[in-house]
Symmetry: C2
Subunit: 236 residues, 2 copies
């Protein structure tokens, strides 16, 4: 019996391979701060805990290493990446650079649907600013910026943004509280969106610079002050 001779648009059943699942589990544990920066991630321990063998754990480790979440020292395994303050500066500097570009491109290619989607995402961000849920707010903030990169139409740029974002989440997750007043964070997105709507390149770049520079200073200050880290505790 033939059920379907032509594709019908069903969501393909992807047997999430182990590596992906393990990577996700580790990622969650890292950005939630459950495994703190500098902590060793022993293959055997992870494998035991997840009930799998070490091989896929190793591969997941390599994956996360390429994303900047882990570092591996040959012969000594993986540990959660620590970010020196000036590495965070590098990260934000680069992020501003590509988001400027993304925003200008996005403004050029903007469709009415895109415009609506951006507006709605920003509204969501305002809503989450009301309730007190730092993790959620970071998430919605991230989505707004990601949307801009999506609209830019440059997929490689989008991938880069995702990489940078996942790296930044280590440090942002580390800072339990937000780096600024929730309401204010949501507010500073408004001029950015407004700038994009004008379509003027200089104005857009200024908007991105202003908005992200703000976030940069907030994060940088917290990171420099608080947890002079170098933690090396072991975590299962």
């Amino acid at each position: 019996m033939r059920l379907a001779s032509k594709p019908v648009g069903l969501p393909a059943i992807v047997s999430q391979d182990l590596v992906t699942q393990i990577a996700r589990a580790l990622t969650d544990a890292i950005i939630s701060g459950q495994i703190p920066p500098g902590a060793k991630v022993a293959e055997a321990a992870v494998a035991r805990e997840l009930g799998v063998s070490r091989a896929p754990v190793r591969e997941a480790g390599r994956l996360l290493e390429s994303q900047g979440l882990l570092v591996s020292i040959p012969g000594r395994g993986f540990s959660v990446r620590t970010h020196a303050p000036d590495e965070i500066d590098d990260l934000y500097d680069l992020r501003i650079c590509i988001e400027k570009h993304a925003a200008v491109l996005a403004a050029q290619r903007m469709t009415p649907e895109n415009r609506l989607a951006l507006r709605r995402q920003l509204d969501v961000l305002h809503e989450t600013a009301a309730i007190n849920d730092p993790a959620r707010q970071v998430e919605e903030d991230y989505r707004f910026h990601r949307l801009i990169c999506e609209i830019s139409g440059n997929r490689r740029l989008l991938k880069l943004f995702d990489d940078l974002a996942s790296e930044l989440r280590i440090v942002i997750g580390l800072i339990g509280r937000l780096y600024d007043d929730p309401q204010r964070i949501a507010q500073t997105h408004e001029p950015l969106l407004a700038a994009i709507e004008t379509g003027d390149a200089a104005q857009i770049q200024g908007g991105v610079e202003y908005h992200l520079g703000d976030a940069w200073r907030g994060v940088a200050q917290l990171v420099r002050n608080l947890p002079s880290n170098q933690t090396t505790e072991k975590v299962s």
Copy 2:
């Protein structure tokens, strides 16, 4: 008898782990075109040929996947990445974006040593333009641009540049011949260097845009015309 109580300057012994070596071997084979885009890279075959087991080959594969040299389809292994023409556009677009930024930063942080190094690298490029060695010229060209990113002082940016460059090398290596007249390629670097020396941001950005836009158009045209690929031959 005490041989050495104080360090004596012995070169540290770095046991090149297998994964790194395998990755390098595969990378060479790919950017040299020995394994063409789209070709399947079977773990077992590679392992046999190199005389190692499959485990390190898999890890090397994951590494190269993260660098954009390979793609993996779950259950079907790795194959050399093919670049659709618009992916190359994305790549160059992003490259221009970050090199603009890098050049402006580099101009700000430039020391006399840096200035000299840049000048000398450009001279080398001129020299290689004389002899006919496309691979070498691509290499020296790459080094010049990399040097700018190095001088920028943003390490994350440098890493990104390396990633983009290794991706681009697949397509550049694919085009056996150069995308332009060797002499001309070397020449178009001069105004770029001159612009950087002025230190004026707008002028520098214009210089990068002009220079890389040129390369972009050359590569894009060749890629679109010649080898409408989709090769799927098998390679040991």
